[in-house]
Symmetry: D2
Subunit: 337 residues, 4 copies
Amino acid sequence: MLVVMQSHAMQAQIDKVVRVIEEQGMSAHVMPGATRTAIGITGNTGAVDKSLFEVLDGVEEAIRVTKPYKLASREMKRDDTTIEFAQGTVGPKTFTMIAGPCSVESEATMLKTAEHLVARGVMFLRAGAFKPRSSPYSFQGLGLEGLRVLEKCRAKTGIGIVTELMDTEHASAVEDAADIIQIGTRNMQNFSLLKRVGKCRKPVLLKRGMSSTLEEWLMAAEYVMAGGNYQVILCERGIRSFSDHSRNTLDLSVIPPAKALCHLPLFVDPSHGTGKRAYVPAMALASLAAGADGLLIEAHPEPDRAMSDGAQSLDFAALDALLARLKALAPAFGRTM
Amino acid sequence: MLVVMQSHAMQAQIDKVVRVIEEQGMSAHVMPGATRTAIGITGNTGAVDKSLFEVLDGVEEAIRVTKPYKLASREMKRDDTTIEFAQGTVGPKTFTMIAGPCSVESEATMLKTAEHLVARGVMFLRAGAFKPRSSPYSFQGLGLEGLRVLEKCRAKTGIGIVTELMDTEHASAVEDAADIIQIGTRNMQNFSLLKRVGKCRKPVLLKRGMSSTLEEWLMAAEYVMAGGNYQVILCERGIRSFSDHSRNTLDLSVIPPAKALCHLPLFVDPSHGTGKRAYVPAMALASLAAGADGLLIEAHPEPDRAMSDGAQSLDFAALDALLARLKALAPAFGRTM
Amino acid sequence: MLVVMQSHAMQAQIDKVVRVIEEQGMSAHVMPGATRTAIGITGNTGAVDKSLFEVLDGVEEAIRVTKPYKLASREMKRDDTTIEFAQGTVGPKTFTMIAGPCSVESEATMLKTAEHLVARGVMFLRAGAFKPRSSPYSFQGLGLEGLRVLEKCRAKTGIGIVTELMDTEHASAVEDAADIIQIGTRNMQNFSLLKRVGKCRKPVLLKRGMSSTLEEWLMAAEYVMAGGNYQVILCERGIRSFSDHSRNTLDLSVIPPAKALCHLPLFVDPSHGTGKRAYVPAMALASLAAGADGLLIEAHPEPDRAMSDGAQSLDFAALDALLARLKALAPAFGRTM
Amino acid sequence: MLVVMQSHAMQAQIDKVVRVIEEQGMSAHVMPGATRTAIGITGNTGAVDKSLFEVLDGVEEAIRVTKPYKLASREMKRDDTTIEFAQGTVGPKTFTMIAGPCSVESEATMLKTAEHLVARGVMFLRAGAFKPRSSPYSFQGLGLEGLRVLEKCRAKTGIGIVTELMDTEHASAVEDAADIIQIGTRNMQNFSLLKRVGKCRKPVLLKRGMSSTLEEWLMAAEYVMAGGNYQVILCERGIRSFSDHSRNTLDLSVIPPAKALCHLPLFVDPSHGTGKRAYVPAMALASLAAGADGLLIEAHPEPDRAMSDGAQSLDFAALDALLARLKALAPAFGRTM
């Protein structure tokens, strides 16, 4: 159920609706929009009586939501979600670059990378302190020490930090260190983890599961939002298919339907999506053209010496060239960068 | 095996190489490039002796080709293939639109469509006279009568005709009526049909099979080229995957690797790829950005009255808007339209 | 529309129903069952008036069929279809083996194989005279000469012949030579070819397309049946998936729903399905257990010398061992072999 | 690296090898086999010197293992793994049934089910106390209270308990309550969870991820084993494909290659694999025929009243009929039940 307030509704009227919802043992999710506020109801068992709300002052209408996801849906919130950071805004008017190496490496390498990015106007540095590796015998990341390195990069350069959380155990540590908490493709349906980041107060970048339908992806976002964290960024990173020309099948075709159904920002990771650095720039430009709000790009000062996934990392010259092309094209899509 | 001629090689030297190849019972495929001519050898059983050619005048080197496709490969022909039509050029410097209804409909509808397209500078009209329908009880197309309608459209407006060939029986009729012979996704590995269009002297638009790997697709092009028809246009139209947000999963990620391995023009069909008209423009723009050479778009004066696939057809207003955006963007990708 | 006759309906009453159907410009398909006859109607444009038939003598009811396939559906024909051959019966009470090399090879090899099979009670020899090969440079089969070899095998041993038809051009030749005409996976939606074999009077073994849904497969069978050839055998041979442990993903799980929806015999080809001879026996036994009516198995006197697909061929010792296990198990599934 | 001991090697010689491995900072995994003991080495960084071990008494040879999984591989342990329970043995000589409802329901329902199962000789009861649900608004299971219900069932009937663990937080509670800890398909690459159950001392049933390759699945088993828990049971439960005839595509074809590469027991879950109860028995029989070691079957006294997944649950009559057929067939596959 979604309670849509009149455009001139006052805060006291909104508070009253929330109180009525909570008195019924349900949860209220207040979602302010550009012209009006909507209040989502979750936690109901069985149907909710619309008339309960339609009689309250300031309420325009109460709408039954039929999609299995509610908080993530356009029915609940028509306007695109924007997320504000110290470094700038993520949303429909901007095109945001997140770049950096696959894993956190030495402090020197990370600082060099952060400084390079900040000098080019890149808002976010990405690097994994905790790494999901398919082999137990592979390098598993620097762990907490890696988070320290990332925090130093932010302290020295002001860059925002994007890093992956793999388990509830490290949720507080990652929440403290990160500006955006990344949930990886393998954990998109790790529901315990999704519930945990629903309690975090940092935005969550939610990668699409490698065999996830659009609905399952939006339901995963719903898990986070149902916990009270409405700042979710979706990230397409390639799906599993029979196709073998690249590491994964980057599914840019999901962008228009995802944008039609859901108000959340949507990024693309063409580095994991293709697995080959030569294919990254074309897919990055196509992401902008297809309607994405930003990119997650692997970049490394010396890709051939990267501790993991060097084959898909851009070097700085290639990253700079890509940034220049994106900046030149962004206005044609109503965005600044 | 590929025999690469010196850049100043004379025609007589090229002829001599061809003669030597044919004396060995093999086939020679002369492929002139921007700076030099290469001669592909096919039809060999077992390894070919390189020294046989390297001693001939005008030969720079003989190269063993390891990919299973030869004539389609960049190893054989480094430069992008361009194809010249009365209506203009298809290739790396242009961005070509092919538009029209799914099926050939009444002469009035087709003429109206052709005139609209020509007025906007669109080079090609597409429409199926022979329709591959999954049900034997569905409308199977107007057949030869449909070809007559298409020929009238060309006669009256000068537009080029793109139409599908489904079997060897109608090969001559379609070759006569069409400027580009379309091979549909379901026939991508109909090898008898591929061999037949290898004998045609009209360019072939070869749709990717819905579960075809890149290599299988290039091998299908190779079938056509091995028959002597080197004018093949590849066309991505969506693959089968678990994903259910659209009719097929349009695989734009195949463009960079296809372009890296193969010199042929590559088009995208976002209408079949998505199955929903609302998603077509974003995917069309992304195709340009990803490196495609053109588009195949379903358009109809009254989509809701189309005889088939109306849900994925643009109306003329939407088509015009898309054309305007593509024309504005094309120069940023080194193309004119 | 399906007209179900009363169980005691006379031939004259059936003939009358057929006449009424044809007078309406539609086609009648008379399908005798164990207890009653049903008459399928195809070729209607728009809805058919039930009352037209329900007033006729001997008619029990007229049923609207909602599945897109009619003739192939259990709604049309409740009883399992059996097909009679000189060599025996294919259907629900038997378990039928079709075995032989991938391609027709020398007359000596083929005769040796046929004699071995006949001695073990195997009813059918399979081998391709026309071979769909992904490369134009690969061996394309012996062609008409291969058909001659197969005919000699039948003449000398009495074995039934199963061989692939790739194009309408060779339809008569293959129909003459074969007891069962095979349509390969790549041609499952070659609708021109399906229509052509609908006119043949030999049973058709229709392989599932490698990315075909169950409905598309049954629609392909419907194409053949709509042409008047009701003797279709379905054959599962592995689908395309992300999975890379075998050449294709043999989909035994399609057997129960296919059997629930369709009355046609269903075979399994575990040789192409797995691509590895070591996995063939387990999948063959599982096919019997899952409800299949027979198998298509690659077998060769000397697999390592086979002209194609040797890696998936059983040698005669392995084939004999498999036959012995199948014969022992068949009665547990209500079948003889 | 794998150190293979001579068949008459003494315990002191084995201990010495372990000591040498640990002195190098690596981990030793002692794996006794039917005729000889092998000792796996993990945790090495870079290549290990074979000669270090080949000079020790009792060592037959040291083998470099090239697969990315070691402890799970046949190279490491040739003999099939058997796992002993109070209720009986899981392994190559038996065929084991695990049955029960999707979710833990009322104590009365669970006890009724457990008693029914024990009376038919079924060793294990399955039911989820913690449920991974795609919607945050769906019933999430009874949690710890559900574990109490399961413990009561075991206390009263002696049946073994199989239940899912979704996060590290509840690992101890589930380990205490369960005889087999189930890891669900969505958590197959939740590496933190895999590491945690590697520390448990109860066997782990590891469901295949819905888009997991065989190698990724065995690597997930390797994660558990690398932690010291060698009692892993693999469980196929259907993969994601384009195919829509059932909820998932049950991949029985993975059984022969999994058995060839890996010594662990392998079960099949045809209930989730098909999603339809009518298809379960055929797939269960086929699993036995294909080489599986057991089944996971959803069964419920009143499927139409089940709290989740009723459509795929067998009622007791259907379960009993299936058990009777499996018991009759098992000896033909060298198994007792």
